[in-house]
């Protein structure tokens, strides 16, 4: 009897519920932010009204953008907090990729993902170091979009939080520059989403380790001989 294949994989609880919650709240917020942000940057006469008082369409689009932005921002803070108290897969140290071994891993992953080498050569359970580096850069982009967004929003409000970021305006050449770079930043999120979703599909399809479902249930699968 060949039992090897039957018990060959082990389930590992990788993503705790706060990480999963963060991921999906973030995903929904980012999609809405991209959609509404694009409409704000490229306004169209979507509906018709005889007079302005009959409609509040563009105001509503902006409102959705602002609400999502606040959710996005605080959700981001929660994730940073979880980077200090979560399990070893969600620790902040994962995202600092300065060690030589990590750079070697990145090279291997590039070979697997782009040059399509044999995927069985890499076996990281949580974030691989290339993903970790990209996520770290995306966290910087989160911060950048939050700062520039709040700096622009500060003109609409007397609340303290957005006004804390107005320091960026003189540095970036006034509101125009801030708006320009905030808008350009949107494209990072669009490109990130395309590549991110594709790579999840790719790894799941080729490796069959439950990459996709891990962000729903939290479990991944790994070969026992690698774990030991």
């Amino acid at each position: 009897m060949d039992h090897e294949q039957v018990g060959r994989y082990r389930r590992i609880y990788v993503w705790e519920w706060p990480v999963r919650m963060y991921h999906w709240i973030n995903a929904i917020a980012v999609i809405l932010l991209i959609g509404t942000g694009y409409m704000i940057g490229n306004p169209q006469n979507t509906f018709y009204a005889a007079e302005a008082y009959q409609m509040y369409f563009f105001g509503t689009i902006r409102f959705v953008h602002f609400v999502c932005a606040f959710i996005f921002f605080f959700n981001f803070l929660v994730r940073i907090y979880w980077g200090f108290v979560g399990n070893r897969f969600s620790r902040w140290t994962n995202f600092i990729t300065f060690r030589k071994a990590q750079w070697k891993e990145m090279w291997d992953i590039l070979r697997v993902d782009i040059a399509q080498a044999d995927p069985r050569m890499h076996h990281k359970i949580g974030h691989n170091s290339l993903a970790a580096l990209v996520y770290f850069l995306s966290f910087l982009m989160f911060a950048f979009q939050s700062i520039t967004g709040f700096a622009m929003y500060a003109a609409n409000t007397t609340a303290m939080l957005p006004r804390m970021f107005t320091f960026i305006k003189p540095i970036m050449g006034g509101d125009f520059g801030v708006r320009q770079w905030h808008h350009a930043g949107m494209w990072f999120f669009i490109l990130f989403t395309i590549v991110h979703v594709y790579l999840v599909f790719y790894h799941d399809y080729v490796e069959g380790r439950g990459t996709t479902s891990s962000m729903i249930g939290g479990w991944k699968f790994e070969r026992k001989d690698i774990l030991e």
């Binding site: 006469n45 003189p170 320009q180 395309i194 590549v195």
Partner: protein, 372 residues
């Protein structure tokens, strides 16, 4: 040289034959111009009665004189009052009667006789390249005149976008090295940007400095909050069309005729801090947006390089005039999707063997279990 005795503003007005009633009316107008309410009027009157008329020096460097032109069209208080009555305008190339050596003497007499008392108004930027050769007055470079005049000034006001931010002559590639004055002198500078600034804002700022002997409250870019804390957009009478989502699509369409929002036409109102839509221009007659043209953001730093003016997003540096961030983003997006699609195809070709092996293993395993 003996120091001339300077009358107070009230005395100066009396000498010109104004009555007490005229003086009080005039004080009310000045108070209103800087936003002081009737409860603060007695302070304004007291200041006018006791403070000596400050000498004013108005320097012109790299500029087009549109600030001066705007200033002399000021309506509240009327320009004659400002220039002739409560300012002692000792030197201004455009407005003074003296010329040549006499004019230069006026300038340096004021600077030397009233250190710490005169107000320095600067119109125009300073060329920093070519040892200042791009702007010479009376044989001296703009920078050396500015430095000497600013050293003893009670307050320095940067008139217009040139002195405040560099304006169009500092546009990329900035051949003369045009520089705003705050980068060249140590004095605190009150910036009154605009191309030109609104006349009533200019008189308001000067009045504030006269009455309080110091700068008004400034924002983090050095502009008086009184006039530059609100966006043109938020005080615009077309704002309801923006919130509704009713936009002008082209300059000659039906929506333009109806006066819809000019946001799509590149109006810079949402990113421009100025008092245009509140005080308006030419005795409150109109302002650009009311006249059917979008705001070009002339009081914001860098507006000269943020073109084209009739486009919502600026063209992206290094990618040609027509390409905005969106053009580049779209190209990158299509490229990424194409790359990903190609990758998916090659995956199915190159990984076929591997996946077949894995599937066979899996099927075997399942069979083993069933057989049991």
């Amino acid at each position: 040289m003996s120091k001339p005795n300077r009358p107070t503003m009230w005395e100066a007005m009396q000498n010109k034959g104004y009555s007490r009633r005229d003086f009080l009316q005039y004080c009310s107008a000045a108070a209103a111009a800087i936003g002081v309410g009737s409860s603060g009027l007695s302070d304004v009157i007291h200041a006018m009665e006791t403070k000596a008329r400050p000498p004013v020096v108005w320097l012109h460097f790299q500029e087009c004189t549109c600030c001066s032109e705007s200033f002399i069209r000021s309506s509240h208080p009327i320009v004659a009052d400002v220039v002739l009555d409560y300012l002692s305008l000792d030197y201004s190339e455009t407005l003074q009667a003296a010329s040549g050596h006499q004019a230069e003497k006026c300038l340096w007499d004021t600077v030397n006789n009233y250190p710490g008392e005169y107000i320095l108004l600067v119109e125009g930027s300073i060329p920093s390249k070519g040892d200042g050769a791009y702007c010479m007055i009376g044989g001296r470079s703009a920078l050396s005149i500015l430095e000497e005049a600013a050293a003893g000034a009670m307050a320095v006001i940067a008139w217009g976008s040139c002195a405040s931010n560099g304006c169009v002559q500092s546009a990329n590639p900035n051949p003369t090295g045009a520089t705003s004055i705050d980068k060249l002198i140590d004095n605190p500078v009150i910036k009154v940007p605009g191309c030109p600034p609104i006349a009533d804002v200019m008189t308001g700022v000067v009045t504030h400095v006269l009455l309080y002997g110091g700068p008004p409250e400034l924002d983090n870019q050095g502009r008086p909050k009184e006039f530059y804390s609100r966006r043109v957009h938020d005080t615009c009478y077309r704002r309801p069309y923006y919130d509704a989502g009713l936009f002008v699509d082209s300059w000659d369409d039906e929506n333009a005729r109806k006066g819809y929002c000019l946001y799509k036409m590149g109006c810079r109102g949402p990113v421009t801090y100025n008092a245009c839509s509140v005080t308006r221009w030419n005795e409150g007659t109109s302002y650009p947006i009311q006249s059917g043209h979008g705001c070009i953001g002339c009081s914001e730093e860098g507006f000269w390089d943020n073109g084209p003016f009739y486009q919502h997003l600026a063209s992206f540096p290094g990618f040609g005039i027509e390409s905005t961030a969106d053009t580049i983003g779209t190209v990158l997006g299509i490229g990424t999707v194409a790359g990903v699609a190609a990758h998916a195809v090659t995956t199915n070709i190159r990984k076929r063997k591997l996946m077949k092996e894995t599937m066979d293993e899996s099927v075997q395993g399942a069979r083993v279990k069933r057989d049991k």
